[in-house]
């Protein structure tokens, strides 16, 4: 049974937000959210790679792994696809769109180990989505990731100006802030 596209988009962006409800991609979330600029760069890079890898891994899984009965190689083949894709995208952007490449900078290679990317690919397969659904889901998840990251970076820039007790500084207050945003997103629960 497949859900409608609108429902799927709302569900992936808000209700099952990849960062705040499914806890994927948290390391770069805390690492790159200290400045708005880096957060925007990371969000763009994630959108870019997630959508591409979501589509490609679906094709690899359905047309290569399943017919040849190699499903147990899923983890290895997906991570290879993602790593190769990131490398390829990096080379492509460097040649053809240098401005975007400079904008994404260091975040592009880091995406290989962003678990949001592999996580979404695996989730799409686990839920048995067809190609269009998994593409839409990838786009929506990526947008949700970007939304949460940019919201969080905005809050964190403000926190830098505040006086935080010493043991709470840095990651600790970051996690608690993330908890507060997750609480806000929690209100979407039950919408879909």
């Amino acid at each position: 049974m497949q859900t409608g596209y609108f429902e799927l988009i709302i569900s992936c962006i808000f209700v099952n937000n990849i960062l705040l409800a499914q806890f994927l991609g948290n390391c770069p979330f805390l690492g790159t959210s200290k400045k708005m600029e880096t957060a925007v760069g990371m969000a763009m890079a994630v959108v870019f790679v997630l959508v591409l890898s979501g589509a490609i891994t679906w094709v690899v899984y359905t047309f290569i792994l399943v017919p040849f009965d190699l499903v147990y190689l899923r983890t290895i083949s997906f991570i290879l696809v993602i790593a190769a894709l990131v490398q390829f995208v990096e080379m492509f952007l460097k040649k053809s769109i240098p401005a975007l490449y400079a904008g994404l900078g260091i975040f592009l290679p880091l995406i290989t180990t962003n678990c949001a990317v592999l996580g979404v690919c695996v989730l799409n397969i686990d839920k048995g989505m067809d190609f269009l659904h998994s593409l839409v889901a990838s786009v929506a998840y990526a947008l949700g990731y970007g939304l949460a990251l940019i919201l969080f970076a905005g809050l964190r820039e403000r926190i830098l100006l505040a006086r935080v007790p010493k043991p709470l500084q840095d990651t600790s207050i970051g996690l608690i802030t993330a908890g507060m945003i997750a609480l806000a997103f929690f209100a979407f629960q039950g919408m879909v």
């Binding site: 806890f23 948290n26 390391c27 147990y72 997906f78 180990t113 600790s172 996690l175 993330a178």
Partner: protein
Amino acid sequence: MPKTLVQEFTKGLWEEIPPFRLVLGLCPTLGVTTSMENGLGMGLATTFVLVFSNILISMLRNIIPSKVRIACFIIVIATFVTVVELLMQAYTYALFLRLGVFIPLIVVNCILLGRAEAFACKNTMAYSIADGLGIGIGYTLALGALGAIREVLGKGSLTVWGDMSYGVASVFPSFHPFGFLVQAPGAFICLGLMLCILNAIGKK
């Protein structure tokens, strides 16, 4: 001064305990610690992968060309993750279902790549095993502790393994579970507070 094997092992338990001192591997930390059993299971699976990938990488460290080392590390790690995935599916199926997507995601747990890059590719096998065991057990303890806190306060019970379960209400009849803590936002806040407590103890 070169460290002894014991020192390499014990540093993972306190000095560099992930995810508190080394802020890596946060996703499973937040995602699976709704109960102590899940936390320990995830920690043990990660330890297994960490020890074996450390062994293999330290054995191959003179063969792997440094330019493609990250790709090689990822393939080694992914191999052991697949092993663990199949083993868990065969022997601990209930846990396998509960951990779900987080088992394949051990591949992208930054602790593994971090240890491979920072330690295993520079040290001999014995040291790499000690390092992997130390960091892995530290991670398991941290996940177990976080899971236990969230389970006791959030659900009002503690499942040790399988059906062995203890209710808090039998000890403190007036206790009401604080359901918020087993939900998503509670994970972030609970981990944040634990980090704060550890910082307060550790840094004088």
